[in-house]
Symmetry: C2
Subunit: 360 residues, 2 copies
């Protein structure tokens, strides 16, 4: 068996020790005689798995006690509806900072529920930076301010935390959660689809300050009502049990590696390997402002896009997969999540240099 | 390793060959160098897995071409909101047949969206039968008639198909889908959480006649809009890829065993082993009308409920787990889905006889 070097933006590469353990436990978890997939979500075995996963996530992110952790379904796009449904709390509208493809989807969905104020947008610059905070035209009556902390497609990431005062800050962290420490207390709500740094798709993690929930609008589906889910320990409906189990294994794995400080160091090293090379050549380019570059998703273009196919084919031949950029922007993209090794990124850069040498 | 005899109502026991294959492929699916969990949902590998799963499900259920098959998230309780959101189509209300705990949840959720007409209810008899069709007070202007084809908690199952004329019939088949052939063309919409006969929790299958979709109410979350999902091959958001893969393995497994006719024969044999004994003893009892008994979920009570704990402890000692009845009804419940063997049910009955002999 040869493992691919998988640069997919999500679902994405997972730590090999986690997969090995999942394989070993597939028919019999911990002497129970059952796969985790087969366990009643109300049984003592799964309740322990679920509680441990939550405890480890709380420890990794230092989540304050007045925040609920919910393990839900429906992905980031589901949350784009859940957030206004739950967090409008009688307000007419909310603020949005448009940083690219994901925020555009967030804004589009929010328009079904409330008045949308785009308080700042990076559209004029082709979504290659985070709008400077002093340019944000925030509405003091907004229900919340919604940002995407890392734009998976554009490769634009906040490396600072906006101070929105009394207005709760809501962040989509799908593609950079657990990549570095964050101060949860600065946010009213954080959500993340699991399929990048956490585990399988189909699990969505929501971390929400408990005073913000309990005022969902009447048409909110019960499974999307944070209060209902919080009151039932995320078991209002049957949770995605196997995905929670895998997420729990990933949390343990990150803890064993030293937690989020160690992850950040690891991720900074990897990103530097790739960005340093991109900055040293004119054969490839990355369009993002240096201070806003993502540590997780690195889009780049070949100077001569007629070479794209040859580049991808050569990569495939070296076991490097999923380097094609998102259809909305073209070019290439290397997603280098927690589970991607430094050696993996070094191998990519070595190939990029080799390709430049033979085609430059 | 000893596998448990797992009578859980869901998530539930899965076919061992499916789990073995999933374990073997965990680090490398089909030479791809990736776990299915790590694959981009837009990559050719997963698109093939997804298409094959849909094709096999269509073949197993003989799904007509004018029905869409959707692989969604949010479970049966999510569908209880999705159905009115999508299927009201300007109608004021819908009809509901109350057969127990699951329909009560369905009715409660529907009240958030429309006028609810409970056209028939089995409540007076303690939900131990399906109301006879000639007692149903259907509204000819109803948007649809909603039934639960198998009540997982009460153990009550329809063994016939209501003829609702021009009004679409909607059925929750979470706990009996794939247990026997059904005529899909008699239904407007079928939904099922995967975690009984199909695979891991977190996957919800919807089979819907295509002329019924496209008129969702304005507050419908996009991920819950059947038309949006149908137009995007269930990939409007990232689908629960690993759960779809396991479901696909289960579909192949059922096909290899002879399809749904073979499943029905297998399930009738198992159910007869258990019901025949329950009818032959007064030590245990099942309250459900004979013609409406579920082939999948068999609730039973001990005559002397003070023996419940001893019964469960003895079962546990023999590797039989999850026999405790649902908290809302008490007693015992044996869920005997497709993946439960005849031998498993025979072992349960042997233990029940032994327990009766020593405690009767």
């Amino acid at each position: 068996m040869t493992r691919a070097l998988n640069f997919s933006a999500g679902p994405a590469t997972l730590p090999e020790p986690v997969l090995r353990r999942a394989a070993a436990e597939m028919l019999d978890w911990n002497g129970s005689g059952m796969s985790v997939m087969e366990m009643s979500h109300r049984g003592k075995e799964f309740i322990a798995i679920h509680a441990q996963a939550e405890a480890d996530l709380r420890e990794l992110l230092t989540i304050p006690a007045n925040y609920k952790v919910l393990f839900l379904q429906g992905g980031g796009l589901g949350q784009n509806a859940c957030v206004p449904m739950n967090l409008l709390r009688g307000h007419a509208g909310a603020d949005f900072i448009n940083t690219g493809e994901w925020m555009k989807k967030t804004i589009k969905e929010a328009k079904n529920y409330c008045k949308v104020n785009v308080a700042a947008t990076a559209e004029a610059g082709g979504f290659t930076s985070v709008p400077k905070f002093d340019s944000w035209k925030l509405d003091p009556n907004a229900a919340y301010v919604h940002i995407c902390l890392n734009e998976t497609i554009g490769g634009v990431e906040y490396h600072w935390t906006p101070d929105t005062g009394a207005v709760p800050l809501v962040a989509d962290m799908s593609s950079n959660i657990l990549s570095r420490p964050i101060d949860v207390s600065r946010y009213g709500l954080i959500y993340a689809g699991a399929q990048k740094n956490i585990g399988p798709s189909g699990l969505t993690i929501v971390i929400v300050r408990e005073d913000l929930i309990g005022q969902a609008i009447p048409h909110t589906p019960s499974v999307f009502d944070y209060k209902q889910q919080a009151d039932n320990d995320s078991m209002y409906n049957t949770p995605p049990t196997y995905a929670i189990y895998i997420a729990g294994l990933v949390f343990k794995h990150i803890k064993a590696l030293g937690g989020l400080k160690a992850m950040e160091e690891h991720n900074r090293i990897k990103a530097a390997v790739l960005y340093d090379y991109l900055d040293a050549t004119s054969f490839y380019s990355n369009p993002v402002a240096r201070e806003d570059r993502s540590l997780m998703n690195v889009p780049f273009k070949l100077r001569d896009e007629s070479l794209d196919e040859a580049f991808l084919k050569g990569a495939q031949g070296r076991g490097m997969v999923q380097l094609k950029g998102h259809r909305s922007v073209g070019g290439m993209r290397a997603s280098i999540y927690n589970a991607m090794s430094v050696e993996g990124v070094q191998a990519l850069v070595a190939y990029m240099k080799e390709f430049e040498a033979s085609h430059g």
